[in-house]
């Protein structure tokens, strides 16, 4: 327990120390690179904004991610159970995933003008459903036939087999993908927030820092983003422990 908390905290402190040292040793002014000691004042000065904007970023990311979970799981079920669907959808999916999502920002901005919340959630969703769909799909299609047969031989329906065997069996892969998806959704949210004019959320705060040449604010936003990312990631880890903890082999 000590190690689980102390080691990461130490590593973060070491990181901040090195950063401070680097800025100090090079004598960089604030407009080139802010140092960690500049950040607390920036946070304090804009504390209300950080709370409001941080919340906006967080809820839109989470909503996008939830949509991605629902859609990705359904899509994964389709490509996992049907060979034809797999052959038909894989190229489309891979192609869609390969498109840099930044290029889609103006497209959705034009499609849904002024719907900033909607656009942001949509981007978070679009960027993050792919790993979920693929992992669920692979998990289902690689289910050993014997697992299916023990229930199918008793006349169990496909849905029962999915619920009792296929779904729990793919949970470890699902959570692995969800960790990636959570980070991606976060990137998607920020992308829209930064690129959209009159955006909201931490991304917009970053941009206003940039416009005003407020470098400590920009760096403070980056740190806040990192913290939110960490929170989101460990929320997923927490859920994984609850729902797929069995997959973790007991040590020894």
């Amino acid at each position: 327990m000590f190690n689980k908390v102390a080691v990461p905290v130490m590593s973060i402190l070491v990181f901040l120390g090195l950063w401070e040292l680097l800025v100090w040793a090079n004598g960089w002014p604030n407009y080139k690179m802010a140092s960690p000691s500049d950040l607390p004042p920036a946070f304090w000065q804009y504390r209300d904004l950080f709370l409001i904007m941080g919340w906006q970023t967080l809820w839109r990311t989470v909503v996008g991610l939830l949509l991605a979970v629902v859609f990705g799981t359904l899509l994964g079920m389709i490509i996992g159970f049907s060979r034809v669907a797999r052959d038909a959808l894989y190229p489309l999916l891979v192609g869609f995933n390969a498109v840099p999502k930044a290029t889609l920002v103006p497209v959705i901005a034009l499609l849904f003008i002024g719907q900033h919340d909607f656009n942001t959630v949509l981007m978070a969703f679009m960027i993050s459903f792919f790993p979920i769909a693929v992992s669920v799909g692979i998990g289902l299609s690689t289910l050993e036939p014997e697992y299916r047969d023990i229930l199918r031989a008793l006349g169990a329906s496909n849905f029962t087999i999915f619920r009792k065997i296929a779904l729990p069996k793919t949970l470890p892969e699902f959570f692995g993908a969800l960790k990636v998806a959570a980070t991606l959704a976060f990137i998607g949210t920020n992308l829209v927030e930064i690129v959209s004019p009159h955006g909201r959320g931490l991304g917009a705060l970053f941009k206003s820092g940039e416009t005003n040449g407020n470098y400590p604010l920009m760096f403070a936003v980056l740190i806040a983003l990192a913290v939110l990312g960490i929170v989101l990631y460990y929320a997923v880890v927490f859920l994984e422990k609850i729902f797929a903890g069995w997959a973790e082999r007991a040590p020894g």
């Binding site: 050993e144 014997e146 697992y147 047969d149 023990i150 229930l151 199918r152 031989a153 008793l154 006349g155 169990a156 029962t160 009792k164 065997i165 729990p168 069996k169 949970l171 797929a244 069995w246 997959a247 082999r249 007991a250």
Partner: protein, 273 residues
């Protein structure tokens, strides 16, 4: 020694009856004939051991009996009724015990009851599962995860799961194939004891001729692919056999005949010895 002495006319008593079954799988390089003229009759309450060359179609046979697939030609009957799909009265066990890692051993054994005995009370389910676990010597392990058990213990748990709903037919596809020789012999004895305690009719696929003779009431030899019934040997040994029976001259003779039949099935029989 008597060869196949299945004269027909006892169809009513046969719990499992396979008649003239032919089957081919569709593969990329055209149809692959797997079964061609398969005839099997297993009287109620008896044990049929099936041996045959690797890849000849033995697992296909189990899937037909379980109603997981239909043959291209011929019929499979259970109880004189044509098998058209899966039935709740069948239990299956495989070489891979396929236990669910997220369930305890007890919950794994209970799984079939959740499908076929939806009205059975939780207490009854647990009692039934615990009885079986006791019979196979797994008392005290019911709350363990499958990964905490040895291979032999996992296979015992898998056997309990395939019997928990009191199936009429138990179908086993090389269930002991992955176990070491000593563990395997232990499981043969467990299997014998289970049969004594519960009535069920068994089809066992195996690669081990000693196993087929020790457990079987008849040993069915399948030919190489496409498989047909090549030879049927009735096993007239006492019901309560012990492992010692395997070292009697009678069994040695039976094993000799079976080995010759397997050679024929593999297509490498170099005349008579």
């Amino acid at each position: 020694m008597g060869g196949p002495d299945r004269t027909g006319g006892i169809e009513i008593e046969n719990l499992i009856e396979i008649k003239g079954v032919k089957h081919a799988y569709a593969t990329a390089s055209g149809p692959l004939p797997v079964l061609d003229g398969l005839d099997v009759a297993v009287p109620k309450g008896t044990f049929a051991a099936v041996v045959g060359p690797s890849g000849c179609g033995k697992s296909t046979l189990t899937r037909l009996v379980a109603g997981l697939m239909k043959p291209d030609e011929g019929q499979v009957y259970l109880h004189g009724e044509l098998v058209k799909g899966p039935r709740k009265t069948v239990g299956m066990a495989f070489q891979n015990p396929v236990l669910l890692e997220w369930r305890t051993i007890l919950e794994n054994v209970i799984l079939p009851l959740e499908i076929v005995a939806t009205r059975m009370s939780r207490a009854d389910r647990v009692a039934r599962a615990m009885d079986l676990l006791d019979m196979v010597g797994l008392t005290g392990f019911e709350n363990k995860r499958p990964s905490e058990l040895s291979g032999g213990m996992r296979q015992r748990a898998s056997l309990c799961r395939s019997l928990v709903h009191k199936p009429e037919v138990l179908i086993m596809d090389e269930p002991f194939g992955a176990l070491d020789a000593f563990t395997r012999e232990d499981l043969w004895q467990t299997m014998r004891d289970l049969r004594r305690a519960e009535p069920f009719t068994t089809v066992l696929i195996t690669h081990d001729l000693r196993e087929s003779v020790f457990l079987g009431d008849q040993v069915i030899v399948l030919s190489g692919r496409p498989a047909r019934t090549q030879y049927v040997m009735p096993v007239d040994l006492p019901e309560d056999r012990t492992l010692d029976v395997l070292y009697t001259p009678k069994v040695a003779d039976m094993l000799h005949i079976l080995r010759d039949q397997i050679k024929i099935a593999q297509g490498r029989h170099e005349g008579a010895h």
